[in-house]
Every structure is written in C-alpha cells, then in structure tokens.
Amino acid sequence: MRRAVGTEVVRWGALTAAVAVLVVFLLAQRQDIDVSYGQSPARATIAEGSAGELSDASVPSVEEMTALVAADPVVRLPGAVADWDDDRVAAVIGDADVRILVAPPGLDEAERDRVREVDNATVRIIGTQVSGGFYQAYSTDLDSWRGQFATGDVTGLLTVLIAALTDQPKPADEEGFAWRDPTPAELGVVVGDLRTAGRHVADGATLADAPRPGAADAFPDGTVRYVALPRQPFGEPVPNYGPALAEVFPGDPVVVQYGNWVEYHGPAADEFAEVAAASFYGQFSDRLSRYDYPQTNVLDAYLSRVTDVRYSGLFDRPLPYQPVDPLRVALPALPWLFAGCVVLFLVLSVRSVLRADNPAGQRRSVRGHSTVPARLAGLTALAVEMSAVPGGASDAPLTRGIGKLGAARAALDDDLPDRHVHTLLDDAEDELDGAARLLGFDGYRPDVYLRSRLG
C-alpha cells in the first residue's frame, strides 16, 4: 500500500515537472532583440557642446576672413593650434598659389560654416582637421595621430592634401615627432605630485581633480597614476614621461596625456595599449581634431575603451567573475528532461491502469482468504441433498434458493465482486434455511450443515 502511494507521488511529480519544464521552455522562447533602423529617428540626439567640446574662440565674418586670406597666403586666426613644417609644405606647394586659413578648434556649427564659406582659401584647417576643395585629409596610424594630437602637427595632412589638390604624387611620410628623456628636475616634480596626490596636472592642462569613475574597471590592479600635460609646442622634442614613471612606479598603471593624446605605460602595456589606442583614435580622431574637448572627457572615453578591450577577453586579462545564466545552461537539456518526465508519467499511468484491471489481484485483495467458492459448493451440496427429500411446502423456498445459487454461480463466473456474490449466497442461505425449517429437520439448516461438513 505504501509503495502504491509512493508510485502515485512519483507519477504526479513527473507530470508537474513536465509541465514546469514546458512552461520554462515556452517562456525562454521570448526573444528580445531591439534593432531598429526603420523606426528612426533615434531617441537621443546629443546637442553640440554638451560634452564641453566648444571653446570660447570664435572667427570673424566671412568677408573679413576673405580679405585676410586675400592679403596673406597663411592666415592664423586667434586660438589656432595647428602647426606644420614650413620647408616640407613649401616644397609641395612649389609655385602654386595655395592659401591656408587656420581656425581654432571647438567652433560651433555656424562658425565652421563661416570658415568653409571663405572661397579663396585653398586649404582650411579647423583645429587640426585639414580640408580643401572636395578633400579632407585623415591620419591613419598611431605615429601621425600622436603628432596631430600631442603637438598639433598637421604637416603630413597638409602635404598630402596639397599634393592631391595640385595633382602631384603623394609625398613620402616623414616623422615629425621626437621624444626626449625628461630632465631630472622635470621628472622630480611629476613624481612628487604622483606620490602625494596620485596625479600631476601641469599648467594649461584640463584634467579635473575628481577621481575617474571608469579607472577601476579599466585597470583593476594597482593605483592608477595620471599625468596631464597641455598640448606640447611643435617642433621640439617632447619629454617622454611614460617609461620613466613606469620605472618609478612598477606595477602601477600610468596614464600620460599630452593634449588630446593619451599614452599608457605599466602592466600589460604590450598586450593592449596599441589596440586600445588604435581603436580609440580610429573612432574619435575626427571629433578630437575639430573640437576642443577637456582632457577629462578624453580620459573618460579612453578608459571606457580600455575597459571594452579588456572585457572582450582578447588578451587573457583576468575578468571579474560573472555568474552564468542557469537558464542558458539548462536550455539544451530541457527537451530531454521533458521527454523523461513524459515517459515516466506514461509508464506509471499504464501500470496503475493495468493493476486496477487485474481481477486476480482484486480477488486476492479481499480481506481474508476467499470463501466464496467453498460456501457456494457447500450450499449447492445442501440444496442437492434437500431436493431429494419430498417436501411439498418446502419446494418453493428450495427452488428460490437454488435459483439464487445459480445466480451466485453466474456472478462468480462473471468476475463480479465477492461482496455481491456473498449477498446472493446470503439470500440462498435464507431460502434454504426456510425450507429446512418447513421440512422440520435441523440437520438441513445451512449453518448446522456447513459446520458439520467442515468438521
């Protein structure tokens, strides 16, 4: 009995599990991919200037600038930062009449439009963005980005653009950028600041004092040390603080900013610094060249790019533990789980139906050993004996009793429950008892007769 209850529990448990698995599977089918081009316009439009990229500098009216350009082949407006190697540019220009208008970075859209409307300027430089005619020149490697953003060097861009405008072959690249070791005095100042405050912000640099929130994700190990220097003067070797500071602070990430150029030195620099820088400047060099972002914003963008590179798992950099989604892991196993539950339920159901169907088992399950056949046999023998005695009045009850015995026998053959057969036998016994009393012979009363038979 206990086993039967356990089987029932397992059976309904299997059904419940199967339904639960099915529901989980159906819920997991929901797909939430949200890619939309057709439903543009996009939500967030970032207003120009919201990231501090506009400067205070402005430009004169189009007429004034046109007059200036007519008077002079090279016009530098106030706040202009671009610079170039005069000899190399002059060599490309040759005898051609090339007029260059140099505007400051961080102009808003109206001001940039005014600069573009100066028709007599062959080449326009806004910040360090060089364009002219239908062309715009771009830097495409780390060396030229470094010159462009650390010192405002646009020599390479200018020569390429002018060569294109004057139908000359592309001039050879020349390295215009040079490092030098920092003097002990320079290094001492920076190291002192880094030891006390963790950062060195030189005069003219625009790095905010607050700690950068993205630093912990980008560089999980060691104390990050920031050095912010303003854009370096063009044409002079630039003090290379990075390697020297990495020696002073072994194990600590060192980020050195020269203007908008960001250098990383420290642990694992070989593994990701170039990739991060190429990715960062490949995406942002256009905006960085024509706008005047504060170094804080450039640093934040750089740190988030480093974080992206790190989390992409490209360089075996250790990542913080991310728990696996149990649903994703379990999904492939769900059909098997479901099929198993279905089979279990099916087997147990079939078993329960078969067991209820088994008459032999049912007969056995009646309490005590079955006495139906014995009782039937005994009463039948009694009826046969009594029918041999001529009785007159006892014939009717005897015949009814024999009829009941016949019905009991048919019910027994028909596999009807014992309880029913017993009822019929009780009736037969009553009739036989009545007949025996009418005969007046106690030996034929069923209980006496059966007892004597058993004895």
Partner: protein, 107 residues
C-alpha cells in the same frame, strides 16, 4: 535542432492522452461493473418472484403487474437505475405472492 522541437508537441499530446485514459478508464470500468452487479441482483430477484408466483395458491393481480413491469425493464437492459427499479418491483411482487401463500397455509 531539426526534429528535436517535435519532443514538445508530441510529449504534450502523450501527457494529455495518458491523463485522459487513466482518468476515464477506471471510471468507465466501475460504471460497467455497477451495472452488471445491479442486473445480476435484479435477475435473481425476478427469478425468485417467478418461483413464488408458480408456488402461489391463487393469482395476485397486483403482483403479476409488478413482475411484468420488472421483466419489461429487464428486457430493455437499461442502466443501474433501471436495474434497481426492476429489483424493487420483483421484490414487492415476491412479497405479495409469499404473503398469499402464507395466508393460504394458515387457512
């Protein structure tokens, strides 16, 4: 992938079918059983009444009527309710004939 999605609809259909069969089969069987039991009772009661009628000293019209009704019901082979009604008629007819026989004996 391919066929593996079939596991879900086929499995669900098997579950529903197995549940339906296991729920209805015992019930239908019990119903059948009850019907057979009650008709067995009814038939034995009709037989007893028939014997009592043959043994009765005089015809009893009411008992004849009751027995005919019971036999009609049995011929129609209805459900357990009809069987119980037939049993009831047959028993009442049996009682009437026995009473008639008993009063005859005393007389």
């Amino acid at each position: 992938m391919g066929w593996s999605w079939l596991v879900w609809p086929v499995g669900a259909a098997v579950l529903v079918a197995a549940g339906y069969v296991t729920a209805t089969l015992p019930r239908r069987r019990a119903h059948q059983h009850a019907r057979r039991v009650s008709w067995s009772t009814a038939r034995s009661a009709i037989d007893a009444a028939t014997v009592s009628r043959d043994a009765a000293p005089r015809p009893v019209a009411e008992a004849e009527q009751l027995l005919t009704r019971a036999q009609t019901l049995a011929a129609d082979r209805g459900g357990p309710a009809a069987a119980r009604a037939a049993t009831d008629y047959a028993r009442r007819a049996d009682e009437l004939w026995r009473t008639a026989a008993g009063s005859q004996d005393r007389a």
